[in-house]
Structure formats: structure tokens, C-alpha cells
């Protein structure tokens, strides 16, 4: 029996991609973690923060800190971007408020992005993960350069028998999502999206996988607009699908 974990599911998973959250829950349970979902969680505040509305971001952040502080155990987040917000940005957001900064620091120490935790604990996973797929992996920027997680998702994909990794040109380049950026600068965002999708198409992959639903929504929306039928998945879904 492993330690209990708390799932911070994120807004996008809740509203747009609940299957990602359910897959994450099943994976964590397979590792023996009793999963708790604090139902009063809302949003980490990143949209307001990135737009420069720090008062509003702090209001969301205080709430999240209150909710998460009332729980125990590792906080698992199926999003590099939201995880980076909690792990790195909260302390900056509260740099002038010692009490909240300390709370933020304590929570930051408890947070793990899902692929980080899964990669560490994968040896304990029941064997037999198997899936025939040629996967283009898109490292989301906040996971890769924010949290510094480069290898964990790749290790997980390699651990699945039958999965081959497609080589994507400029793999680590941003897809152009960027939260509100995608709405406020649709032309630049669209150009970046086109470039990313062209690289993915050239890779010969039959699936596109990432660890952030934001990027995935953006990429899937672009594929849909182009009329391209390429499967797009969160890493948690792929792993859940591959396990016996």
C-alpha cells in the first residue's frame, strides 16, 4: 500500500478532458496510491497571472493554497503548466506576503507533475504495458523548461512495449498555445501551430502525445481545422490504455 496522494486535476481536465483525470486516477491506483480529489479546488490562477492581473491571480492562489494545505500527501498534477504555477510562480506572486509565501513554499514542496511521479514509481507498476503506436511526443514548455522535466515522459513511453518514438524536428519548440496568448495573438499563435503540425506530420507519427491539456487542445484544434485525423492524447491516457 502506497501513500495517499491528492489530485489537483486542473480546470481544463475538469471541463474539457475528464478522461485524462480518470486515466490519471487509474494509474495512481495501480501503483497502490489511494487518490483524494479535493472537490473545492478551482483554478491555480495562471491565466490571470500571465495576463498581468496579479491581484486576481493571488485571490485564486490563496484559495488553492487553503484547499491544498488542508490535505496531506503528494499533490499530483497532470499538467506541467499548472504544476509550474504552483511550484515556481506562487512564491513569486507572494514575494511581499511572508505568511502566504511560506504556505506556497510548503505546497510547492509537495507537488509532483504526473509524469515525474509515474517515472519514479514505474518499476512498481504491474508489468505488461503494451501498445502498438508510433508516438510524436510534444514536450510542453512549462514542463520542459519550467519544471525541467525532459526525460520522464520519454522514459515512460519507452517503457511501453510496442511504442516507437517518432523524431519530430524542433521537438522542443513551443506549439504556440501560451494560454490567453492563443486568443490575443491568434495570427502568431496560428503560425507557430502550423509549424509544429508540419513537423509532427513529417515525423510519420500516428499519435501526438503531451503532458498538458492546453497544448493538446491547441494542437488537436489545429489538426481538426486542417482536417487531419491524427490521434492526440495526454500521456496518462496512453499509459492507461497500454496497461493490461
Amino acid at each position: 500500500m502506497s501513500d495517499p496522494v491528492q489530485l489537483f486535476h486542473t480546470c481544463l481536465v475538469n471541463e474539457i478532458g475528464p478522461e485524462v483525470g480518470m486515466a490519471a486516477v487509474r494509474l495512481l491506483e495501480r501503483l497502490g496510491h489511494p487518490v483524494g480529489v479535493p472537490l473545492d479546488q478551482t483554478c491555480c490562477g495562471q491565466p490571470a497571472y500571465n495576463a498581468g492581473f496579479h491581484d486576481e491571480a493571488r485571490s485564486a492562489a490563496r484559495h488553492m493554497l487553503r484547499v491544498l494545505s488542508a490535505t496531506e500527501g503528494v499533490i499530483v498534477i497532470p499538467s506541467g503548466s499548472c504544476a509550474d504555477m504552483l511550484v515556481h510562480q506562487y512564491e513569486l506572486l507572494f514575494r511581499d506576503e511572508a505568511e502566504w509565501r511560506e504556505k506556497a513554499h510548503a505546497i510547492a514542496g509537495r507537488c509532483r507533475e504526473l509524469s515525474q511521479l509515474l517515472a519514479e514509481e514505474w518499476p512498481r507498476m504491474p508489468a505488461g504495458a503494451r501498445l502498438r503506436a508510433r508516438v510524436a511526443y510534444h514536450p510542453s514548455c512549462h514542463l520542459l523548461r519550467g519544471l525541467g522535466v525532459r526525460d520522464a515522459p520519454l522514459e515512460l513511453l519507452r517503457a511501453v512495449e510496442g511504442v516507437t518514438l517518432a523524431e519530430v524536428e524542433d521537438q522542443e519548440e513551443c506549439c504556440g498555445f501560451g494560454g490567453l496568448f492563443s486568443v490575443k495573438q491568434p495570427e502568431i499563435s496560428g503560425r507557430m501551430l502550423e509549424r509544429k503540425l508540419a513537423a509532427v506530420a513529417a515525423s510519420g507519427a500516428d499519435r501526438l502525445v503531451s503532458c498538458d491539456l492546453g497544448c493538446l487542445m491547441h494542437l488537436a484544434g489545429g489538426l481538426r481545422r486542417q482536417g487531419v485525423g491524427l490521434a492526440v492524447q495526454h500521456l496518462a491516457e496512453l499509459l492507461d490504455e497500454a496497461l493490461p
Binding site: 486515466a23 480529489v37 485564486a60 490521434a231
Partner: protein, 524 residues
Amino acid sequence: MSAVPPFVERVRSALGDERLHVALGRATEALRSRRASAFASLEDSDRVRDLARKAKLEVLADLASQLQRFEERLVANGVEVHWAETGEEANRLVLEIARRHGVKRIVKSKSMATEETHLNHALERAGMDVVETDLGEYIVQLNQDRPSHIILPIIHLTREDVGAVMHRRIQVPLSDDPRTLAGFARAKLREEFLRADMGITGANFGVVETGTICLVTNEGNGRMVTTLPRVHVAVMGIEKLVPTLEDLDLFLRLLARSATGQKITTYTTLLRGPRRPGDECGPEAMHVILLDNGRSRLLAGDDAEILGCIRCGACLNACPIYKSIGGHAYGDTYPGPVGAIVTPGLRGLHGWSELPAASTLCGACRDVCPVRLDIPRMLLGLRRETVRTEKTPLGLRLGLKAFGWIAPRPKLYRAAAAAARRLVRARAREGWVRRLPGLGGGWTQARDLRAPAATTFQEQWTHRQQTARATGSTPGASAGGAGGAGVRRQQAHKPEAASGAGLTPAERAGGPGGAAQHPPARRR
């Protein structure tokens, strides 16, 4: 200078320029891969970067006294030192120096500081004959253009463009062969070097300890400019100081690698004053103009760190936004991520607040910066400043105010999210939305939107917990395949594997919300 068109127009015109797109893609990619291999050859590169960053930040923290020491050394070396509060003042000083020395013809080597002050225009207006001698800058000048990259001023032109410009402006035979074109330019520039009365340069670094000006070039023009004419004027930003020659060594190792992917540039010139008795060459007089032009204000603010920039251009090459829109779209002297901070820093946020907003905060710039400037953090700071001091779109402002109020109120938050979900779902067909009104229109301009789920994760989770309780199993307690009924039952709710973003037409037909209608998606 003529008025700069609005950002949105600059972006649109850049995105519409297919040749620019191709040129930028090729050049930035070449520079990125050269940089990567050059860094592979630098032993302990992380430590070198840390040391360089430390040296820079220490100078900046103590800039006033460092500048004073630097000035003392320069004067002791026989250099005349001038201080310019603004760009206009710097230009006026250059002009005064030129008149004092009876100068008519001026040659220049590449300098961002004099781009910033628009020195060429000022000198030409005063009747001086000025020629840029860096090949790229020479073409810019011939084309009455503006540089669009810190290192490669004409990154936006193809070699055919360059041939056409030279043919038109200096009447050489039309060609698109780079060697031939460079040969024409060399012959032409040689005459200019020999005729010039004064040379103007910038400074890559100023070494406090010795009062040395360091210039880093690849074409050798920097040497010609500083040795052939009888007067040399260096215009340098006050932030360009490094403490010692030993520190300079750190920066030289980083600069060429970051800028062009070279281990060292072809010419590294260290200048310590005018010609001394017995010297065979060198100018009779040397002047250094120390330019503030907004730097003191930057130094006093939250973004003082950006003054540590050594103008290598690596962040431009790494930036997917720069790669998309090129340098001119940034509207001022410094393009790319560094420009998005320096431009509002030097000129004020008003009129320039779109620059820090136009970023996905992807962090590629921070990753390649030789002195590890935290550009995303500074962009975020400028966005906050924008909200405080500038007009922001009403819809966005109200929306985010409401967000701030609702986010700490879970019930209200869920209700608002449910209402939004219903609204968007009502516009969906086959699980996708093709067009949204208002702010959402920005999204659907470039891509479709996957319709929100019919039931949220929390609803699905709660349902699962209740079912598990009813059947007496505890889903959380089951490890591995021994999963209780709760786990298995839920798997029947699991959407078709690849429906994460619903991709095959068949999957779309059900829409994400309808995914539960699919058979269990166990595939082995």
C-alpha cells in the same frame, strides 16, 4: 523617425511575407544548430555562464562607482570621455567632436548603441558623409532599411535582394553570388576606409580595470575603422562594463558561441587609447561617449537584470515568435525577447506594451541566454505593469476581475463553469466548435475548439466514488490488476482511447461527452 505602425499591422505584414518566413526559418535554424555545437565544445559551460552572470550582476549592482573607475582609467590612457543622457545628446556630442577635428567623412563599424540613437540620420542631416562598413549594415544603409537582427542585420533579405540593392545603389553588375557581392563591397569599402577622417564604433565590452574598449568582429572592418582614420569615437551603453580582463575572457568565450556558433570571432580588438609616440598606427584622438538613454531608469526598476545582456542574439534565434514575425515587427532597435524588455525599458511602456504581451513564456530564450537572464520573469513583470498603468481591453479586464472574485468561491466557480460549458456546447457540432464570438473568436480564428465535456471530471469522480461505496469496494485501495468493481465499471466509461482530443470522424460523431457510449476501450 517616421511613426511606427501599430503592432498588429507590423505582425500582419510580417506574417504575410512568405520570403521573410523562409529566410528567417533557415537562418535561425542554422544559427541555433551552430550555437549548440559550439557550446558542446566549451568545457564546463554551465559554470562559465554562472560566472559571467555573476560578474555582470556585480558590476550592475555597483555601476556608478564602476563607471567612475572606468572613466579614470580611460582618461589616464589619453581618451576623452563624454557622458550622454539621451540619444540626441550622444548624437550632438559626436557631431561636436567631428566638427572640432574638422571631419567630413566618417566610417562606422557595427554598433547597436548608434542604431538606438539614429546617429546616421543626425550626421547626414548635418552634412557629414557616413558609411557603414559591416557588410550587413552597409546593405541596410544602401537599402535605406533597418536592421532586423542584432547579429545579422539583413537576416530578412535573400542574396538576390542584396544583389539587387547593390546593383541599384552602387552600380555594380547584378549578381546573387555572396562571394562576388562581398568582393564588390570590399573594394568599395576599402576606398572609404582610406578616405575617412573619423571612425565610429560601439563597444562590446569596456574593461574597468584597464580602461580597455573591446570590439568583436568577423570582417576586420572594426580594426580599419579604429586604426585608419585620425579620430576614433566609441559610443557605448553604460551597462557594457566588465570588471577585469579575466572576466572579459569569460564573456568572449560565451559571446561568439552564442552569437554565431564560433569558438572565437575572427577579430577581437582591444583598444586602450589613441596612438602614442612611437606607435606605427592608430588614431590621433580617441573619444568614448557613455550613453544612458533610459538605462539608469531600467537599472532602478525590477528589470535591471536585462542590462546584463551582451547582445549575442541567441534569444532571437531560439524564439518561436521572432522566427514567426522577424525583427522589424518589434518596431525598434532591439528585436526578439530581449527587445521586448529593453524597448519598453528604454522608451517607456506606453506604446510598447504589446511586446511583452506577445510571448507564450515558453522560456527558450532563458535557456540559451549566455548570462541566464530570466526573460520570462521580466515579461511577466512588464505585463503586470501594463495592467497597472495602461489601458487594457475592457472585456479582458472585466473577465479577469470576475475570475478573481469567483475563483475562491468553489460553488460559484462550478456554476459559472457549467454555464460556460453549456454555452459552448450549444455551438458545437460533432463535438467541435468552429466559430466563437468575442474574445473566443481569437481561438477559432486559428483552430477549432474541442467542445467541453458533458460531465466534468469531478462529476465522474464523485459518481465513481459513490458506486464504489455502494458495492463496498474501495477503488483507492486496489493496486494493479486486482482493481475492484469500481475500477472496472469506470473503465466502461472510459472514452475511446484516442478521444482525448477526439480525432477520427467516428469518434467525433459521439463528441467527447458522448464518449461513454463507446464500448470499453481495452486494446491489447
